[in-house]
Symmetry: C2
Subunit: 330 residues, 2 copies
Amino acid sequence: MRARRPTIVDVAREAGVSVATVSRLINGDEKVNADYTKRIRAAIDLLGYQPDERARQLRRGRTQTLGATVRSIAEPHPVLRAVDGEARALGLSMIVMSTGDDPEREREAVMAMCRRRVDGILIEPVAESLAYLQPEIDLGLVVVAFDRPAGDVALDTVLSDNRGGIRQAFDHLTALGHRRIAYIGDDERIYTGHERAEAVRGHLRDLGESVDGMVHAGPVHTETVAAALDVLHRLPVPPTALITGNAATTLEAVRCLGTAFGSTTLVGFDDFALVDLLPAAFTVIAQDEARISETILELFRDRLARPTAPVRTVVVPTALIVRGRQEALT
Amino acid sequence: MRARRPTIVDVAREAGVSVATVSRLINGDEKVNADYTKRIRAAIDLLGYQPDERARQLRRGRTQTLGATVRSIAEPHPVLRAVDGEARALGLSMIVMSTGDDPEREREAVMAMCRRRVDGILIEPVAESLAYLQPEIDLGLVVVAFDRPAGDVALDTVLSDNRGGIRQAFDHLTALGHRRIAYIGDDERIYTGHERAEAVRGHLRDLGESVDGMVHAGPVHTETVAAALDVLHRLPVPPTALITGNAATTLEAVRCLGTAFGSTTLVGFDDFALVDLLPAAFTVIAQDEARISETILELFRDRLARPTAPVRTVVVPTALIVRGRQEALT
DNA sequence: ATGAAAGCGCTAACAG
DNA sequence: CTGTTAGCGCTTTCAT
């Protein structure tokens, strides 16, 4: 026979006070008699009482909880780490769910959070449409999108300057004398994939270079990247430099290039740990994760304070981190 | 003026039925009149009703939620990924919190989960003592430890066969003719660090080799690993092979060895993505993450079913993944 | 400063 | 099959 979980009533009885007094003490009300305070504390310890968060939240309305959806809970997520810390400092709990880049799972996760009445949701949008969130937003849910814009619903949004990052890479490479600059990256149905590929096309045109066969955007796998590299290799005028559109592409490219890698001029979008362990160092376009997470929480707080203010989109600059030999093209 | 969130009462009124009927429908009770069903569905859509999970859980008792603590939410966690999927299949939500390897944060996270009345907690123990969990366990909380044993409280536990993994590495290396086998790894205050270092010492003794200066266990940083490598290098009879105690150590070792890396016989504990991108391939002792996560959930379910059964510890074998050139020592 | 009592939104007896 | 109603454990007026 297992003991019943002690409730606030048990504590009150044990301490010989009313539940209201216990509640006050638990919630840090200063004006509880010192003697009562001691007796209540003792009762709590004796009974091993832990307030039921569900009941408190139900009664209070607010949950003091921030939900977040990310692609995968099993992969590194610097933005989230920073947000996690700052949220704790604000007295918010966080609950994280993964979407696996599946719109259906994203929706399930988001609605599950709504049913738990989280105060806000940070979302890295996967689905085309987030319209189903509108009623929740009208009811006071605060939603901040990051990494990708929401599309069909007005949301505060934090984005990296994808086009600016590509510009930095082009500036860097053209300064070294490159003009034939190729690109391999993510599917253009994904916002970041589109922005980056499109930026590359623009710069190639500005340089008066042909775009034909130079920009490869699609799902990233070993085979697709290998195929793209092969196409580039066979071009009448092959590229002298390559930009990879995200970390996964960079890794696949390094893998495919193998020993040829060291002699390729590469700039990768996204910095990541271990880059320095690869056979040769290379330059990267780094996203400013710290600033991104700060901005996310700033938008969240502002929205909480002024629910009717117009939505904002903040674009955070990227930084070019130059690594490896910087040989001018001869 | 923001609209109030609709409750089950609003839905009932709108549909012209009782709240009980709405509740029944929501909870998948089959025997609700077809006409009512239609009207209730319409009311739910019209109002944008989302049941309040806090209230349901409070009323029902069980939360159908599984909590998990991990070292970092920002780092890859294969075990968790698998558990996440299986938990969903079981109809359980998961809530994950990170400990940052800090016993204090671990305790806070665990107690926060208890206050939310999660049905179970999967814990990768950090703190020396988990005694504070005993009252919760007595109250019916199911706790499963993984990766490290709990120490002072009886818990179902899933462990990798750390000593077995080291044995596999020694078998492999001695078959190649190595006898002077060194080790660099994690602090021995951490369970896995201790097990692995101690296993290495045992095997060296069995081989009749001196252990002096061959086993380096401590915090893993670039400097400490470099220092350890330096010591090994200066030994009267330097080692011919090196075992690294975890992924972090492996990476630091690779980093420190630099170009000398290719000519070192290395076996690393833990397999990880990107190993094949390093300048030279090497053999690893891989933990069986799939089997570990299955076992975790199995223990969880069994405990839920039979709360008083004796606790079990399951040790999951490791696998040696041989990579790179396998030159016998000459 | 403390207590009594009214709910928060929901589910589960219990009647009918 | 449906409705009525008593709580789940807590916070928060409203009195005192």
